[in-house]
Every structure is written in C-alpha cells, then in structure tokens.
Amino acid sequence: MRRNRFNKVSAFAEICLKATRSHDIKSSLTVTLRDAGVTSWYVGPLVHESDLPVGLGQFGLAPGWQEQYAEARHCEVDPVFLHAKRREGPSTWGACRERAIREGASRRALQVFDEAEEFDLLDGFIMPTLGTHPLVDGVTFGGLDPDLSTDGLLDMQMIGTYAYEGFRRLAEGFNRVSPYLTPRELEVLRWSAEGKTAWEIGEILHIGVRTVRTHQTSIKEKYGVSTIVQAAVRAALDGTVAAPF
C-alpha cells in the first residue's frame, strides 16, 4: 500500500520535472488525483480568471463550475482562496468553511461552498505556494468524497507541489539553461541590446564590423534565434544581460 502511494507520487513528480508541454502534466494530474477521489483541480495565481498572467493558472474543473465561479467573481470572497492568501499552510475546504462561519463570513462567501456542492464538490484540499510576486499562488483539489486522511493530505501536498512547479517551469521557460557567451560576445550583445548598429559597436569596441557580425551570428546560434534582438530579449529574460527596460 505504502509502496503504491510512493510509486504514484514519484511517477507524477518525474513527469512534472521532465514535461515539455502543460498537457502532459494536466492529464497525469487528472489521472493521479482520480484515485484520491478528486474530480476538480486548480493550480496557479489566486486571482480572477481575467487577471491571470499569460501562461499561468491551470484548470481541471468540473464542467460549468469554472464559468460559474468566474462569472460570480467568487475568488474575491472564497474562504478557501482566502486561507491560501493568508499563507497558513495546507488545509481542507471543510476547515476553511468552519473558520469562515466562526469568523462571521459574509453570506456571499459561504455561498461559494453551496454552489460548489451543486457540482459534486463537497470537500477538498488547499495549499499556498511560493507565488509569482506580487500574486499569491495556490493549489486546490476537490471532489465528492476526496481522500482527506493524513496520508491522503500528505500525498496531495506533494502532488500539488510538483504540479505547481511543473506548470511554473513551463510558463517561465525555466528548463532552458542560458548558453555560455564569451566575454566579447557579452559585450557585443549588451551594445546590441542598447540598439547600436554593428558599425557603432565596432567603433566602441575597436573591432571591425565583420568581427561584430561574426560575434552576433555566434550569439544567435547559441540562443537558437534568428535576430540579434530576439537574442537580446532572451538574454535579458534569463539574466545574462540587464534588461534594457
């Protein structure tokens, strides 16, 4: 039994760390969670759908629930999201609901649970993650009767951790390792990023125009792009040169 649980989490972690498409993580996440009684999941920033940064926020929600949740702007009052925003560690939807009642939450806030039940989402799991500053990110899983035992929650935390990291890496192009540029190539790239022409760079560095172009060709090849501007953008994104903006 323990071996099975380990194999399941371990296999999912492997997929997340090696995935080249978010679809691979999505399908594996759905299958992995199904065994734990989870039918809906969300991984990403805890904001309204229309405020999600490009590439962030992955859904595997019950049909209709995503639309209803977004239309009602539930994310603004959802006690489950509020729990994660307080960064208080993993919890269950049930615990979030109890706390909301205890603290006198609004009728609108508690209505989120009632509406979720209409989609067979009776309970679930929530955990905050590190976040993509300044947004607060989280992972939440729900279902009719999800496994919220101690072991079940531990597994969900691991699965949520790897799902979040896998999606984040894909969104940020994280697995792409910066190519090594020679000191001269770095100088040429920095001046190119400033908008200088090959002739101007040659004058600044006291080298010929053809030499500048040779360096630029090498830089483009190393980044696998077709223009020096694309290379400069990639270099700014991976921190090789300071962003010119």
Partner: protein, 206 residues
C-alpha cells in the same frame, strides 16, 4: 562571505565552528523547538565528525548568518541511523552522494539572498569534491523552494509529518547546469565560496 570548512574539529576554524553550532542552537532548539540536545548553547551531534563539511556564511560584522552540513552517505548519516524508514529501498549509500542536514539561516536575514548564496555554495562545494548528488529530509515547503532554485528534487520516500510539518526524503543532482540555473535565478555572477579550510594534514586538495 562563505567559508567551506572540513571537519567539525578543524583547529583552524574554532570560532567559525562555534558560531555555526550556536546558530544551529538558536534556529533548531530556540526557534523551532526540535527535541535535540545542545551543550552550552551549541547544537551538535554524532554526525558532526572529522569527515563532515560545513558551509558557514558570515555577515559584514562577522556573525554567522547561514550554514549547511554535508556528510558523505557511505558513512553513518542521519538518514541511515535515524530516518532509514523514510526512504524506499533504503537510504542512499555512495561516496559521491552527500546528505544535507542542519541547513539554517538566521531569523533576521531570512528574506534576503542568503538562501540563494548558500544553495550556490553547496553546489560549488559538491563540484569541488566530485560529488554528483545530494539527498536529505526536507520540509515540503523547503523542497518547493529548492525546486524554485533550479534543483530537480525527486522524492525517494513517502512524506511524513514531523513536528507538525510535512517532510519528505528527496535527492537531486548537483552539476554545472544546476549551478548556472541557481546563479541566474539569484543574479549571482561568480563563486559564492570565498575561503576553504581543509583539515590540517588532509591529503585532498580541493
């Protein structure tokens, strides 16, 4: 400044080591209330040996602000002696795999870049010593932070609650690519380790 110190009893680094053991006492006993022993405000155990390596970071005033302990896994480790059941297939045993334990950052600098520097220094130390893999028992939060740093941390056991926090045994590769990723993320441009203190008489030249 980050020092790499070989040996818990290295006679050339008594003050640095005492500062490091004191930081561990402050973090693990005073702050986290771990049920472990300490002696006159210094926390150390049977896994602090002459074979152990330490990273010790000092702030500008010379106070120890961050540390991590590294032990080769072909010798007794916390994994093999205390938490063996947390690892499926038994604890790692390989001279090229380090166990990382007692990672601590002083409370007052925890939101600064010390974490990134210590992570880079750990990988640099591994590259210097020819170590290719590291393992340990980490809080799941810390595991996420390590992955954010660029480490491909893989679980090697079932998670478990320890002192009210979920922990899991995990391992990850230590190589030049991982070092580059971590340096890029924290915008660190050069080596993080500034001084290496070998045990007097040790044959290894780092």
């Amino acid at each position: 400044m980050i020092h790499l110190i070989a040996g818990a009893t290295n006679p050339n680094c008594r003050e640095l080591l005492a500062g490091m053991f004191r930081l561990r006492h402050d973090v693990f006993i005073k702050e986290k209330h771990w049920n472990i022993k300490s002696y006159n405000g210094l926390e150390f155990d049977q896994f602090d040996t002459e074979e152990t390596l330490y990273l010790v970071e000092l702030d500008e005033a010379g106070a120890v602000v961050a540390t991590v302990r590294m032990n080769p896994t072909d010798r007794p480790t916390l994994f093999s002696e205390v938490f063996a059941d947390m690892c499926h297939g038994g604890p790692p045993k390989c001279p090229k795999t380090w166990e990382l334990t007692r990672g601590a950052i002083a409370q007052n600098v925890r939101k600064s870049l010390h974490f990134g520097r210590i992570e880079c220094a750990t990988i640099e130390a591994a590259l210097l010593w020819g170590v290719t893999k590291a393992c340990g028992i980490f809080g799941v939060d810390l595991l996420m932070k390590k992955m954010r740093c660029g480490l491909d941390a893989k679980p090697i056991g079932q998670p478990r609650m320890i002192d009210g926090e979920s922990h899991v045994a995990a391992e990850f590769a230590m190589n030049g690519d991982v070092l580059q990723r971590t340096r890029t993320l924290y915008r660190i441009t050069g080596p993080s380790i500034e001084q290496i203190h070998l045990m007097p008489g040790a044959r290894r030249a780092a």
